[in-house]
Symmetry: D4
């Protein structure tokens, strides 16, 4: 059966960070598939993935990459789907992957989220917001999850009084 979100990353070493996106999607009941695709080492496969993404039923693509992070840009150039980019930076303070992801030229946007694991989670949350526009059930789960987040902060607040 077709999945809704494609999570791609440039290297298996990105898995521990990017699986946080899968966990958020699981909690919200959004199906996903995960692929290791390199813009530079497997350009054909990355291209193929992007070209066929919509026909295979994907609604949007989450792409995580580090260093000169081109994977999200490649997805956005080839596919018509919304692409969310997660900068997976380590060297140069993380500025390399952030700037290589967010500074896309007009017409080929990448919706960029925060650097690292916080960003991997937020890529999933952004996917949920987008998909909830036409999925009332998901929307209700999103609202419930937001309420739970709020409750958790309130609890933390109460716990220190």
């Amino acid at each position: 059966m077709s999945k809704t979100v494609g999570i791609v990353m440039g290297s298996k070493s990105d898995l521990p960070v990017m699986e946080a996106a899968g966990q958020v999607l699981d909690e919200l009941g959004v199906s996903w598939e995960m692929r290791i695709l390199s813009a530079h080492r497997t350009p054909e496969q990355a291209h193929e993935f992007a070209v066929t993404a919509r026909d295979r039923g994907l609604k949007l693509i989450i792409a995580g990459a580090g260093m000169a992070a081109h994977l999200a840009g490649v997805m956005a150039g080839v596919s018509e789907l919304p692409v969310i980019g997660v900068p997976l930076g380590a060297s140069l303070g993380g500025f390399d992957s952030l700037l290589a992801t967010v500074q896309m030229p007009p017409g080929v946007p990448v919706a960029t989220v925060a650097v690292g694991k916080a960003g991997a989670k937020n890529a999933a949350w952004m996917a949920v917001r987008i998909l909830a526009l036409s999925d009332e059930d998901l929307r209700q789960r999103h609202l419930a999850a937001r309420a739970a987040m709020t409750a958790k902060v309130l609890e933390a607040d109460a716990s220190i009084q």
Copy 2:
């Protein structure tokens, strides 16, 4: 009649940059409304806008702000809709508004695009990609626009041979 995209910005001085988003949406046939709302100077109005956004028919929000750019974050905190943030930087090389927009904590994502006018345009292009997920007509216009962009590059390429 209700609009589809809300374009908000923190100051009237942001208008020359942010109207580039409106122009792209116009070209693609997506309706929009534009508001000047300050996260800091009109927090009530910004809050009210975000709280009522969905009920007034908005599908998503594009927020542009400079310096300590909080407007997109406020929108994302209050509203359940997808929020696209445009960093409108001038001082400190533009790093202030970029980092203040993109580095959102888990659960409250802002889909950040490039700094300045390129980003304002891409906010609109990202809105189009999202809306096209459930609007086949818009999708066809998006594909045509993408083809036109490609053609323009090919023409430029031909012109220098």
Copy 3:
């Protein structure tokens, strides 16, 4: 009984850093209350806190937040009280929270101090300076604390001769 300084932070994980502000205030005999309030996850509560701050007797607000640090800005937008912002940065070298805190637009200032625990302490020291303007007893304790700081450096200096 009402407290003088409100210390707010965006997440319970900020507690180990921000309690350094409480310790300085304790040493100087300034009463404080501490709250976990998120500009993005509990915007209503953050707003409510800021709106009622002065009526509950608070004289000023110390706000610590990381990443796209908006909490101090929200406080300064809603409340008329002086707001002191502590950038709690970890990613991107700490530049994200610093710039998101300090670069406030005209009319809505946040008195920003250093990044991290040094800043949490200095937020308290700045509060003491402000409150001492109209509290002669506190002023004397401040002068004594300053003398003690000086003495400690002199002692360290003597210890290496």
Copy 4:
């Protein structure tokens, strides 16, 4: 007659930026004096100014400086008054004066505001917030000014509908 706020700057070339602080204070009815004092070229005079500031009736000090901006730090080290620092950066993107102003060690805080003219204005606005804690008339003027700022944004908002 004694003034309430001391505005100091490191060089006459800083005047066009720093007089924005004086203008805000004038609008709010707060008296001020302005001095050119260099932490490095007139250290004695800078020291003398800081030592005598409180006895001459000053309640707080606004210090603007560029490059390796030490003037605010000198004021905070010598005087017990609250010191607000304005980074007047030009070279290295403005990062030099920002970091040299904000990164003060524990016990000697400088309340840092934004780089450049926005910061000069906000230094005055922060002074107003502090002084309004014990001056109900000033507080009312501050509230009125805040209402006017809000009104101005609302007007701008209305003007583009």
Copy 5:
């Protein structure tokens, strides 16, 4: 007849900078072709160019791009030829295109030169050094050009005595 160096750039607006590379190659007698190819707007054409580059006789590729500069990386991923990347930065101080060009992952190198026109020239000079390894005539012209550069500095030196 086949050319030796392929100069590609992402947009016609890059032409004024990138033609400096052509001029240096002309002076050294190295043939070149120039193409406008966008990694994001014409990914098929960019891919096609890279795939066929060697068979059409190209020895190496010079790629200039700005913002999230992916063009050089795409060339290096698809083609086996040496790729020289020119960061054409304007926003964010030029750090975006520099980091997006140089921080390539192991196995897919881009030989990165300086930002802007100095880099466009040096891309050509690097091409000359590489080609001269197996072209004694070119090597002699390179040595002569180096001698001329040295002479020019010596002349400038003499002119100020």
Copy 6:
């Protein structure tokens, strides 16, 4: 017998990073020699190395250095050979060695690769690409190595399905 690639570094402490370049060259069957030469502490020896490099049979030079990384620039100034620079940064986020390596003036290019070990490897891969222009056997080994890299990503991709 003469070697093909000269790997030089500024300090023995750079060895653990730079030997990654030697390993890649070994795998591809390219001979190399390694030298510790400091642009600042052994300028005569560094100069001598560069002057004689070509006559001793070297085809290109890989230079790794940290901090104010001048070694690659010295090589490029003295020798006519292609020079590949590896920024070995630790302090200031690695920006010091990156900028000191890549920002060479026109006429004296250094082909700069990524910071640290990824860069050391890529310096070797760039050397392979250059040398393969006139060595069909090496070219075949390069193509095989590229195929192996692709296969490894495909395997990783398969392993997570």
Copy 7:
């Protein structure tokens, strides 16, 4: 008996880094005294030290400080002696102390060296170069030390052949 070099630092926690300067001076036979003086916590003592430095026989001052590093600037403003500044950075990648030390205004120079322990050593080496201008014995020791440094690199080079 009077010392030749004054080594000052802002805090006892700087000692492990700054004593590297003393060790280099010891090896070269230059006498020194060490003081903990804070530009902000002991401004009087710092001022007194600088005012009397020359009369007590000091020839130059080495000042190490972190964060908003003002100590070297204070020394250079008050004393006529050459002042060498060591940026002792930890937060914000070390950029805060570097910029706060090096960006001094015209007429009040601080000779700035590298960040951290490398800089502490180089402050001493710079002192040696300056003092050797009028001390032939020291000059000979400096030349010998330079020769030893060269020899050490040559040895390291030999050790890897």
Copy 8:
């Protein structure tokens, strides 16, 4: 007759900035010679200049260079004299030349001053401080010049009262 200070720069385009150093030295009565020497384009001449500097009577060297600014480092590596480095930055916010100048490895210090014209002046002022250690007449002129600087600030201060 032999000169006291050697002012070197990498390119004739640096002259408008670097002649500010000559003007300060003229005002203080210190003789100087000026040379255009490139670490990369005229390495032999730069080396020769540094090797013979002391024997020709120079006491110290001021070196200005931009981009990957290696000239001061070359001088410090070859000559035993104190070397003062002026970062002449334009691209990348000036960070390239600053970091390439200041981050020298232990044993080979460059006394770095501010970026650009302020730095060119301060290089001269630092030279004066060093030379005044053994030249009482120059010392008196330095003290007078410092007094004049102080007077100028005091005058500016008086002019705005």
